[in-house]
């Protein structure tokens, strides 16, 4: 059994009458990426704030350990074990990137020469060496976020909290950030990641928990979560209304969308099921103009868990796990 980097039992927090966290249990093994997924206002940031000692949990909370230390009894020991990159950039905008890094080195009590070495190394690694002598206020959003994470890494924390690290970043910066996170984990660091992007959790996390209404609605690996919801289907689209009609007759189990001239056939996406659909179309002598296979993804899980409404199936929504076969 592996040791837990984070273990929380019955995390509770209310602000006035508003219950934000209503008994959240978390168990994050060392050296893994755990992603807390939830819509805006679900309480993700509150979880990070509590676990990183910024705000105290409410009295009804059970035992919470971070890095093996009791959160309430030994907050300084917890702080020594963690690094936090919050949702809003935690850099000193008035000073340069290099000065920010040296400030962190001083606060981690590194000897002067080692501090300089660590700062220079991280600035290099995060592609900030060129901008190191410029005030942080002149940095772009992506640069600030990289500086932010570089500052978090100065003390070589074993547990890192990243609160929505890619919110507001352009696609390239987002992929850079993912690469950074993967490298951290490869180095044995535990990462606690909050995000509202399902793809991000799918890409990075070993385990995912969906936070909804102050509780964990579901948790498991991405695969386990996807198995929780049905939603796999084959979608056929036609341009000729007559072809659409005859295909619908050939495939009695299909759901018809007359407006879009589309058919939706429940399917697990296996080759055998796909072939049977194609065989029936051939037999009826119709040809679909477009065929897509949709496997359930975290979007389906997310919507199924956080909303009782239907899973999304908007044709215009680009979807990573939908592959077009023409």
């Amino acid at each position: 059994m592996t040791n837990l980097a984070i273990a929380a039992n019955g995390l509770r927090k209310s602000y006035g009458d508003k219950v934000v966290l209503d008994g959240v249990d978390l168990a994050v093994p060392e050296g893994t990426v755990f992603s807390l997924l939830g819509p805006n206002g679900a309480g993700k940031t509150t979880v990070v704030k509590i676990l990183s000692t910024l705000v105290p949990a409410d009295p009804g909370t059970g035992a919470v350990h971070v890095g093996g230390h009791d959160l309430a009894a030994e907050p300084q020991a917890v702080r020594a074990a963690i690094g936090v990159t919050g949702q809003f950039s935690a850099v000193d905008n008035l000073i340069t990137g290099e000065e920010n890094m040296l400030l962190m080195a001083d606060l981690h009590h590194l000897p002067r020469s080692e501090g300089r070495r660590v700062a220079a190394g991280l600035l290099e690694r995060f592609d900030l060496a060129e901008a190191a002598r410029k005030p942080a206020s002149t940095y772009s959003g992506g640069m600030k976020r990289r500086l932010d994470i570089a500052m978090t890494l100065v003390g070589s924390p074993r547990i890192i909290f990243l609160d929505e690290p890619t919110t507001g970043l352009d696609p390239r910066s987002r992929h850079t950030m993912w690469q950074i996170i993967r490298e951290l984990v490869a180095g044995g660091v535990t990462v606690f990641l909050t995000t509202q992007y399902l793809e991000e959790a799918d890409q990075l996390a070993d385990r995912i928990a969906v936070l909804h209404d102050g509780r964990i609605a579901a948790q498991g690996t991405a695969g386990e979560l996807k198995r929780l919801v049905p939603g796999g289907h084959v979608r056929l689209r036609f341009t000729d209304p007559a072809a659409h009609r005859s295909a619908a007759l050939a495939l009695p189990g299909a759901a018809r969308d007359d407006e879009a001239l589309a058919l939706q056939i429940p399917s697990d996406g296996t080759q055998r099921e796909l072939r049977s659909v194609l065989d029936r179309l051939d037999a009826a002598g119709v040809e679909a103009d477009e065929l897509t296979v949709h496997t359930p993804d975290l979007d389906d899980v997310f919507f199924a868990l956080t909303d009782s409404g239907s899973a999304p199936d908007l044709p215009n929504q680009p979807n990573r796990s939908t592959e077009a076969l023409r």
């Binding site: 702080r79 963690i82 606060l107 978090t152």
Partner: protein
């Protein structure tokens, strides 16, 4: 590392950070020095003859300079309140709170930096005063030293109060407003006119506030006027305000992150 050496080390790191800010953005500091210098010139050259009751401009320079020097401290700490309030809104403060550092060091850095700025400001304004004719007649070396110590102590007291004001202010404008009394109080003290020249009902207002005893003590140390009980009262004000301001600031800072 012992907790004391941790406190000293982290505080000096934070002080370096604040001095870096002050050096990088000197305009705020210099703007704050404009007020005391303008008041000095205004009261000496424009109102000087009238204010001195016929004793002449030279005599009035001697009278008004100690008050102006302490008004410089008041003016500097308004800047402290503003910069503390601005700083607290920065994300880096949240980062500091999640680090295993000596917590009050964030505030101590601001305080020590601000006291240094106050002292530098007093020296600069003092130089202007000397340039227009102020002379400290007959002050001995220990009196000079005591005068310097008094300025430092008073700056420390006002700074801690200003830090508290900065911490409870939601933004820079509010901080500037909240700290306004620190620059208004010297105007209703014995800085510009002696207490006995004020209307009787007003005299207690001017007498029982921190600026008057500190000004009277500084005046006595620099010019040889009688200090009387003002010395002890000034010391008590300084220590009292420092302790109060520290307690207030530390407990405000320790409360939940904003």
């Amino acid at each position: 590392m012992s907790s004391l050496s941790l406190a000293v080390r982290d505080s000096s790191t934070m002080l370096r950070r604040n001095l870096l800010h002050a050096r990088r953005y000197p305009s705020l500091t210099l703007n704050l020095l404009l007020t005391p210098v303008m008041l000095l010139l205004l009261f000496v050259y424009v109102f000087g003859n009238a204010m001195s009751g016929g004793a002449g401009r030279a005599a009035y320079i001697a009278y008004v300079v100690p008050g102006i020097l302490l008004l410089t401290v008041g003016s500097t700490v308004v800047g402290t309140a503003v910069s503390v309030s601005t700083d607290m809104a920065e994300g880096i403060i949240a980062r500091f709170r999640t680090m295993a550092i000596h917590r009050p060091s964030v505030l101590v850095g601001h305080v020590v930096g601000s006291v240094l700025q106050s002292v530098a400001g007093v020296v600069l304004v003092g130089a202007v005063a000397v340039a227009i004719g102020f002379r400290s007649v007959g002050a001995t070396a220990p009196e000079w030293l005591a005068a310097f110590g008094l300025v430092v102590l008073f700056a420390l007291a006002l700074t801690w109060i200003a830090v508290g004001m900065g911490l409870v202010s939601p933004n820079a404008e509010a901080a500037s407003n909240n700290a306004m009394p620190l620059i208004l109080l010297p105007l209703i003290s014995s800085a510009f006119v002696p207490l006995h020249s004020m209307p009787g009902w007003f005299q207690p207002v001017a007498r029982y506030q921190p600026f008057t005893p500190v000004i009277e003590t500084l005046r006595g140390l620099l010019l040889g006027t009688p200090v009387g009980s003002n010395g002890w009262i000034a010391l008590a004000w300084c220590l009292g305000l420092s302790v109060l301001g520290y307690r207030w600031s530390a407990s405000t800072f320790d409360r939940d992150a904003r």
